[in-house]
Structures are given as structure tokens and as C-alpha cells.
């Protein structure tokens, strides 16, 4: 289909198209011939790796610092290496966390519960809405989509007062819901998914589904969702990262509902003597989002390279 479209656009007649088709076989072999010189390749890889290292620096720094003994933590400027690596920052954690008013396991449960439910809800709702916006002919969808984009441009500072009023009107202040539902209403996911769907799902497939007598909802679950899996996984990763690190400000007071990032701030408040343990907690907190990243992206890359469902 795509091939046809390009051929049509370029105005090639049937006759010359046939001629080109025979040429195609010979051209296919050296079709990816637009490569750089060896020197260009070197520059290119060097540039990428340098930029990549530059980006990953704080991550490396956090990990190294978490293994530093106290006397090395006090050195300024902190060097990027550790002379006598130790686990004492990690070993001190159980002790530091034992005098919490709520057991640590409860914080872990809260964090996992809130993050997973908010992420699932977010991805699910965004994908459904995006499908309606991308492929339906319902009235007002263009206007609605512009509003979705505009929502990303309004600064959040002044929204806290009206939001609090809405939360208390709904009666969800100081519950799990206040940490879960509002995130699912953010419009970035719908925007990204709609953009992706428009180019990823060929209309012909939807029509085929219709001929089989499926309605939009069945088409969505059986045809659209499998195709947009790469974008779905990417969205899931964004959602997990955001909610995992979020600290609800002024909407959750009950200690037994609070999540892990609040303990973080308690430990960091301990000052320089605890800075090693604070870094250890930071490193531990980074593990789940990184895991989600690795799982989702390796799936994305795989799904991409074997993407066979095209027009």
C-alpha cells in the first residue's frame, strides 16, 4: 500500500511502474547504500557515546556514592570513584527505618499499589480515548483534541486550589484515589497515543474488521491494541516513572497511606552523616523504574524489528 502511494504520488504511470519493478530487484541489494565514510562513522559513534556518558553521569555518581564510607563522603568536591567501597550505607537502612511509625512493608505496598493501578488506568484510558480520536468520525473530536494539547500548556501552580476543592467535593482527599485518579486524567498519554495510532493502524485493517462484523470496541481490543503495543509499553514506562516518584502535596495526611518517596525525604533530612544512606535509598528507589524501562523497551525494540502487520 505504501509503495503504491509513493508511486502514485510521484506520478509514475503503470507502464513505467512495471519497468521500475524489474529494476527494484537489482536495486534492493544496494538499497541501503546511503552510509557514511569510515571517518564519519567514527565521529558519529564518538559523539553518541560522549553524549550518552554525559547523560548517565548522575546515575553513575549516585551508585558510586552509595558505596562510599563516611570519611570519603565528607571529601569535597566528591570524586567519581570510591577508594574503599563498603556496604555500610545499605546495612544502616534497616536500623534507620525501624523507628518509623508504620512498618516499611506498608510503604512498599502503598507505592506498588498506587503506582501499578495508576499506570494501568492511565494507559488503558488514554489508549481507548486515543482510538476514538484517531479513527472515529465523531463530532467535535478535532476541537477536543486541540483542548487536550492546550491542557499541556497551562502551568500547574495556580491549579492546586481548585484541584483541592474538587478532591474534597468528590470526597477523595486522604485516600488512595487521590493519588491514582488525577494522574489518569493527564493528557500527554492521549496525545502521544493518538499521534502514534494515526500512522500505525492502517484504515484497511479496520475496514476488514468491520466486514467481519466487529464494532469499534471489538476492533479496538482485537486489532488496534496489538498493533500499538510498542507505544503502549512506552506510555506504561512514562506512567510508572512519574507516579513512582510522585509525592502528593497536601492531599494525603494519613501516614499509613503514604508512599516510599516520603521516607526518602525523612532520611535525607538526617544531614550529611546520613547522606550515604540517602544515596543508598535513592539507588534502591531507582531500581523499579529502571526494570520497567528495560522490560518495556526491550519488548518495544523486538516488536519493532518484527513488525509485520503493515498495509
Amino acid at each position: 500500500m505504501n509503495l503504491l502511494r509513493v508511486v502514485k504520488r510521484s506520478g509514475i504511470t503503470d507502464d513505467s511502474a512495471k519497468k521500475h519493478k524489474s529494476l527494484k530487484a537489482s536495486k534492493e541489494k544496494n538499497f541501503k547504500k546511503y552510509t557514511r565514510s569510515k571517518f564519519g562513522n567514527f565521529i558519529f559513534v564518538f559523539f553518541l557515546v560522549a553524549l550518552g556518558l554525559f547523560s548517565v553521569l548522575p546515575l553513575i555518581y549516585s551508585i558510586i556514592t552509595s558505596f562510599k564510607p563516611l570519611e570519603e563522603l565528607l571529601v569535597f568536591p566528591p570524586p567519581f570513584y570510591v577508594v574503599r567501597p563498603t556496604l555500610q550505607n545499605y546495612r544502616a537502612l534497616p536500623n534507620l527505618l525501624s523507628n518509623l511509625s508504620i512498618p516499611l512493608s506498608r510503604y512498599i505496598f502503598n507505592s506498588l499499589f498506587v503506582t501499578i493501578s495508576a499506570t494501568v488506568l492511565y494507559v488503558f484510558i488514554a489508549t481507548m480515548a486515543a482510538f476514538a480520536l484517531a479513527k472515529s468520525k465523531i463530532k467535535g473530536k478535532a476541537a477536543f483534541f486541540v483542548i487536550v494539547q492546550f491542557a499541556l500548556l497551562f502551568n500547574g501552580t495556580t491549579l492546586s486550589v481548585p484541584l483541592y476543592l474538587i478532591y474534597s467535593w468528590l470526597g477523595i482527599v486522604d485516600t488512595y484515589w487521590v493519588m491514582i485518579i488525577p494522574y489518569a486524567a493527564t493528557s500527554m498519554g492521549v496525545f502521544l497515543m493518538k499521534q502514534y495510532m494515526e500512522s500505525a493502524i492502517p484504515d484497511a485493517l479496520l475496514e476488514a474488521g468491520e466486514i467481519d462484523g466487529a464494532g469499534p470496541i471489538r476492533i479496538f481490543f482485537q486489532i488496534a491494541v496489538p498493533i500499538v503495543k510498542p507505544c503502549l509499553l512506552t506510555l506504561m514506562m512514562f506512567g510508572f516513572r512519574d507516579v513512582w516518584a510522585a509525592i502528593p502535596d497536601g492531599t494525603v495526611f494519613n501516614e499509613s497511606l503514604k508512599t516510599l518517596p516520603t521516607i526518602m525525604s525523612q532520611i535525607t533530612a538526617g544531614g550529611i552523616a546520613r547522606s550515604g544512606s540517602a544515596m543508598a535509598v535513592t539507588v534502591i528507589m531507582m531500581i523499579p523504574p529502571i526494570l520497567v524501562y528495560v522490560i518495556s523497551q526491550s519488548n518495544v525494540m523486538e516488536a519493532m524489528s518484527s513488525a509485520g502487520i503493515k498495509e
Binding site: N2, L3, V6, H20, L23, K24, K27, F31, L48, S55, V56, P58, P77, I125, A126, M128, A129, F131, S136, F144, F150, A151, L152, L153, F154, N155, T157, T158, L159, V161, P162, I166, I181, P182, A184, A185, V190, L192, Q195, Y196, S199, E207, E210, I211, G213, G215, P216, I217, C231, T234, R241, Y293, V294, Q297, S298, M301, E302, M304, S305, K310
Partner: protein, 304 residues
């Protein structure tokens, strides 16, 4: 022939079935209205009131907007800074996130995953800013100062974060470093969605080099993702604030690093002038909406 008739017929049958589409859209639409549209609307209404979070709001018409231009000395400076930041970090960040994705796309999946992780890392490590505070520390021990001192470029430490001259470039670098998150990965997924046949067909059509391939095939196929990353880029580059406040403080030396958003934060959450903060937000929103309109026009040119 027969087949096409069936398709048109079924189109009438099912594509008219809009009710199910409304069902799909409804959950998001309801929550979006409750938690985004409603607060934004009330914030816009609030911009016509005098509201200090203690007494009842008091209607004052467009006084808040007049105050912006007449009474607020810092307003002109923060607008200038915000636009400057946006003009520099916006386009560079936009192009960088595309170019990096374009480069990465040529690697094998494994290498690609590792490299994209590296670029995504700053967005993943929430508290990465501290490393910049150490790097540009004002005493002679910061990484930058100790390096330059030991190499003999300077004789005494530079107060990077307390100088009007250096603070802006530093914030721009940090912002670019941190912005490789969402739009970068969106671009990667968009790039891999382009049908390989397009390139083959392009080769037949007489595309001669990588640049033509980029301009006539890759970019037009990426238009959707480009709009997405442009809007995300507008949102982030006009809202630089936490980086500036963390590195330079508020107010910074000579207001050199103060932006509209840090001003809103000061007015709203420190001085509790919510009405005025809302008016500033509306002004910033108008600025971004206009920019978005211009970008949409600009993206139309791609591939011509």
C-alpha cells in the same frame, strides 16, 4: 469491483456506529474535564479576582492584567528571560531529540536499548540536579573551577551560579541535558513505525542521498510525532523554573535567571496572591498557544 461495493456498504453500516466510540472516549473525557479543564477554567476566572487564600475572592476586573504591565517591575525581565530560554532550548532540544533518535535507529536493538537508556537516564534519576550544583560550585573546589584552575585558565574561582554572565548558559545546558526524555523515546517509536517499503520506493523514485531521504520520506512520515515533541518541547522550554530556582535561587542575581514560572511560584505560593498568579499563568498560556500555532504552520512545510 464487488469487493469495493461491500466495503462502502459496510462503512455505512458500522462507521455510523458512533455510540461505541463515545463509550471509548468517555472515561478519559470525564476525568479530563474534572481534573484538568475545570481547574484551568476556574484558574482563568480567578485571574479576574483578588484572592489571598484567606479572605473571600474579590472581583477586580482586569486589574491583575493591568498590574502586570504597569506595576510589576520584574514582569518585563521574567518575560524576556522566559522567551530567551524558550528560543534557545526549544529548537535545540526539539532537533536534538529527533537527531539522536534518528542516529540510534541505525543500531541493532540491543545497542539501541542501552544507548537510549543512557539518554533517558537524566529523566529517570529524579534528583540529578545536585551534580550540577557540585560541578558549578562557586568555590575553588567545584569540578569546573578546580579543573580550570589546575589547567591555568583562570587564577581565581568563578562564581558560576552567582554571575549574571554565566547563569543563563548553565541553565540552558542543564535544561537540554534533562529534556531528552519523553519526545526522544516518542521519536524512536515513530521512526521504527515507518514502513521500510517507503525507502525502497523512494530509492526507485530517484532519491539520491541520505538528506533527500530524510526530507522527503522520514520527516513527512514522522509529522505526527514531530507535532507531539514540538508541543512537549514548548511546554517544557517555556516552563523552565525548578532548574533555575535550584541552581540560581529566587530571586537570582540581577534577576538574570528568573522566569515567568518561577515568578508565578513566588507570587502564588510565597506571597499568596493567587489571583495575580492566575493572571500570569493565563499570560504564559497565551504565549505558548501562539507559539504552538506558529509551529503547526512551520511543520506544514516539511517534505515539500
Amino acid at each position: 469491483m464487488k469487493k469495493t461495493r461491500i466495503i462502502t456498504k459496510s462503512k455505512k453500516l458500522h462507521f455510523g456506529n458512533n455510540a461505541q466510540y463515545y463509550v471509548l472516549l468517555a472515561p478519559f473525557a470525564i476525568m479530563f474535564f474534572l481534573f484538568t479543564v475545570l481547574p484551568v477554567l476556574s484558574s482563568i476566572v480567578l485571574s479576574f479576582f483578588d484572592f489571598d487564600m484567606i479572605r473571600m475572592p474579590n472581583f477586580i476586573g482586569i486589574d491583575n492584567y493591568i498590574r502586570m504591565f504597569v506595576d510589576d517591575d520584574t514582569f518585563g525581565i521574567v518575560v524576556k528571560n522566559t522567551i530567551l530560554f524558550a528560543i534557545i532550548t526549544g529548537p535545540i532540544g526539539f532537533m536534538l531529540s529527533f537527531v539522536l533518535a534518528w542516529f540510534l535507529n541505525e543500531f541493532k536493538p540491543f545497542t539501541r536499548t542501552i544507548l537510549s537508556f543512557m539518554f533517558y537516564a537524566p529523566a529517570l534519576v529524579g534528583n540529578g540536579l545536585f551534580i550540577w550544583q557540585i560541578a558549578f560550585s562557586n568555590d575553588s573546589y567545584g569540578y569546573m573551577n578546580s579543573l580550570l584552575l589546575s589547567w591555568g585558565f583562570i587564577n581565581e574561582p568563578i562564581s558560576w551560579l552567582k554571575s549574571e554572565q554565566y547563569i543563563m548558559p548553565i541553565i540552558i545546558i542543564v535544561q537540554l541535558w534533562q529534556s531528552m526524555g519523553v519526545s526522544f523515546l516518542a521519536n524512536i517509536s515513530g521512526l521504527q513505525n515507518i514502513n521500510g517499503e517507503m525507502y525502497e520506493a523512494g530509492a526507485i523514485d530517484g532519491i539520491r542521498n541520505r538528506w533527500q531521504e530524510l526530507w522527503f520520506i522520514t520527516l513527512p512520515s514522522m509529522k505526527n510525532m514531530l507535532l507531539f515533541s514540538a508541543v512537549m518541547q514548548i511546554a517544557s522550554s517555556f516552563s523552565i523554573s525548578s532548574i533555575a530556582v535550584n541552581l540560581a535561587g529566587y530571586p537570582s542575581v540581577g534577576h538574570a535567571a528568573d522566569t515567568i514560572v518561577s515568578h508565578i511560584g513566588d507570587v502564588g505560593t510565597v506571597r499568596y496572591e493567587m489571583g495575580y498568579a492566575a493572571a500570569l499563568s493565563v499570560f504564559l498560556f497565551a504565549l505558548m498557544a501562539l507559539t504552538r500555532k506558529a509551529i503547526v504552520k512551520l511543520l506544514d512545510v516539511v517534505g515539500r
